[in-house]
């Protein structure tokens, strides 16, 4: 069992996510993103959010939030072709980026003796889109700055968040 104070997101899981972000983004974008503080409270902008749940020692969820400009730049770098923000492919790109990241998170957790399985990504796009968390969930935000722009991850522990996501092999 992962131990942590009741309101804190487990540090060992956050550490695995940080390591996974650095490795994954370095391999896709050529350099790891810089950890930063993104303060966009009260700012309105279009974004894509992709959530993946993890099942295992402790259920928790990871949400990648990418503002419009970053999403377009990331998509070009990731796929090698232009993807407009409003296209159906944009959801696919951000979902796939989260999926690749989540695979590395599972590998990083395994190195820390924590077993986890990941769900399929669920993607939402819109102005100020935000995914609701379960009551009493411990949360943590990891913000980054990169050559493609700013983006961040929201981590949250909750029993109910897994209902947001789809289990591989089950009906879409």
């Amino acid at each position: 069992m992962i131990s942590s104070a009741p309101d804190d997101f487990p540090a060992i899981v956050a550490g695995a996510v940080q390591a996974a972000v650095e490795l994954t983004f370095a391999s896709i974008f050529g350099e790891p993103p810089a950890s930063t503080q993104v303060d966009n409270q009260g700012t309105s902008f279009a974004r894509v959010a992709s959530v993946i749940s993890f099942f295992g020692t402790q259920p928790w969820a990871l949400t990648l939030v990418v503002p419009e400009q970053t999403a377009v730049a990331m998509a070009l770098k990731f796929t090698g072709f232009e993807v407009t923000f409003d296209s159906a492919d944009m959801g696919d790109v951000v979902g796939e980026l989260t999926n690749v990241m989540a695979g590395e998170v599972v590998a990083q957790l395994a190195r820390r003796s924590i077993q986890a399985q990941m769900s399929l990504p669920t993607v939402a796009r819109g102005q100020d889109v935000e995914l609701l968390r379960g009551k009493g969930a411990a949360t943590q935000r990891l913000s980054y700055d990169s050559s493609q722009g700013q983006f961040w991850f929201e981590l949250s522990t909750a029993q109910s968040v897994q209902r947001l996501c789809r289990t591989p092999g089950t009906a879409a």
């Binding site: 072709f81 696919d92 690749v100 695979g103 092999g169």
Partner: protein, 156 residues
């Protein structure tokens, strides 16, 4: 160069495009692609007499990639073992790699994100095997076809 019929299975349309683009740029062979959106769709489109090689994602709705590989190996037996099935997935733990290669019957394992250079080095043998199988099949089909014989002599 042999044109291979490649089944590309991924629930992400963008990832299917990326796999097809990477394979084309690898120049390992000429490919003709058949796309499938999940294991169930792939199962319906898989014919060992038509498909030369398969590239399969792991985590998909309805039927996962690993379930698809197990199903194909069970359904077609030795006929399917000649068709290389390659997992292209974000799963990267040793347990998952072993499960795919040792238990399910996949031929190769490629972790996302991949580069064209990785495709070239990890797929060389599988593509060669698919090419040889394809050539043998074409040769066998030609031998089975009537050579014309008396009819060609009679009717030119």
């Amino acid at each position: 160069m042999v044109a291979l019929k490649a089944l590309v299975v991924d629930d992400s349309g963008v990832m299917r495009k990326m796999v097809m683009k990477g394979l084309t740029e690898s120049k390992l062979a000429e490919f003709e692609f058949i796309e499938a959106v999940d294991g169930k769709d792939a199962l319906a489109k898989f014919d060992p007499k038509q498909v030369d090689i398969g590239f399969i994602d792991w985590n998909m709705p309805n039927m996962t990639g690993i379930e698809f590989v197990r199903e194909i190996r069970a359904l077609y037996g030795t006929e399917s073992t000649g068709v290389p099935l390659v997992m292209i997935t974000s799963e990267k733990t040793m347990g998952k790699i072993q499960e795919a290669l040792d238990e399910a019957g996949a031929d190769a394992f490629i972790c996302k994100p991949f580069t064209v250079a990785e495709l070239q080095s990890k797929l060389k043998k599988s593509v060669e095997r698919a090419g040889i199988r394809r050539l043998r099949r074409e040769r066998a089909q030609k031998q089975q076809q009537p050579s014309g014989g008396i009819f060609s002599k009679l009717f030119g």
